[in-house]
Symmetry: C2
Subunit: 204 residues, 2 copies
């Protein structure tokens, strides 16, 4: 017998789901990935463990969706679409715009603390690292690939450039400064990365 | 009363020191930084705990010197000086040469496993991260700063470029691919990074 959902069940589900995301992100930031458990997430979110297992198969799955949700909320708050890089025809301006938004996200403690805990685990746990790269990081990088391809069609990027490598010239420096705290992260810095990458270090 | 060292004491010390480095690197690679202890390093190296405390004040100090020693040995094995980037007058060739050597080091399991464990801890432990960046990573990066400054004097790099940021265009992509396993690490890849960074993505 299938139970009929109460009229407000989906709204209630939405609230539980959000509470579970928040609990998972907070917990992984506090105790790290290895000590985060589905039980701990459930207790913190005020739901039963079975509620979590109804929607997800593991703590990694919960965290993966929690980050996707966080990214979507950040993009909405900034009035952007989370699945595109603007294409105004001015490549430098478009890249600088998106990288500045990334600076804001990386420096937001709601994102930074859990993301750092997860990145640390990904370094030493190849399976988790691969899953998060494939589902969270690589889709973001593919947005740059698309934007650079469009720039190649418009003649703003040389046709022989491999966009998947090219994007790393401005994305990876920011990633390394954030991951390893090797230097300050500012708009001026990411603007400079874009200028250097587009025009090169050698005299023209 | 000061004890006179036996004639072969310094050679014996050197052997102990090397055994301690090897033990520290192996242990951190196996169990991670938090579970690595001075006691564990001592037991594995076959020395007393006090032997370690005579030379170092903490497990972090032991590991720091173990990595410095590993880097020196790798450079010697490759017939290079560990404290310089060649300056043949051909900037692209010199950068490609050093980055290819870095690829070899990053893919050497003797380096990779402990370095990954330590990098993971540095992500979530700001004090340790800052110490290792200051003492291990930043001195390496300053070698690139020096080489790029020399290139600026020779007219091969634009005078308005900030060398400390510029080096990140080719160093950070390699670092991120290694840290997060976001793509293959090959000589062709690092050669491409150098070409893109020097000449830029935009048509000339």
């Amino acid at each position: 017998m299938v139970k009929k959902p109460a009229p407000d069940a989906s709204r209630r589900s939405e609230r539980s789901r959000r509470a579970i995301y928040d609990a998972a992100l907070a917990l992984v930031g506090e105790v790290g990935f290895p000590k985060t458990t589905v039980e701990g997430i459930a207790a913190r979110a005020g739901v039963g463990k079975q509620t979590i297992y109804r929607w997800w198969s593991s703590k990694a799955d919960v965290l993966l969706e929690a980050f996707l949700d966080l990214g979507e909320r950040a993009a909405q708050a900034a009035g952007q679409q989370s699945d595109a890089i603007p294409d105004t025809g001015d490549l430098a301006a478009d890249l600088k715009f998106v990288l500045r938004a990334t600076v804001d996200e990386l420096c937001d403690p709601r994102f930074e603390t859990p993301a750092r805990a997860l990145a640390a685990e990904g370094l030493v746990n190849p399976q988790l690292g691969a899953e998060f790269v494939a589902k969270l990081l690589e889709p973001q990088l593919q947005l740059y690939v698309r934007r650079l391809r469009s720039a190649q069609q418009a003649g703003a990027v040389r046709p022989d450039i491999d966009p998947r490598i090219a994007l790393e010239l401005f994305v990876s420096p920011l990633a390394q400064r954030w991951l390893q705290r090797t230097g300050p992260i500012t708009y001026a810095y990411t603007d400079t990365l874009v200028d250097y990458a587009l025009h090169g270090l050698a005299p023209r």
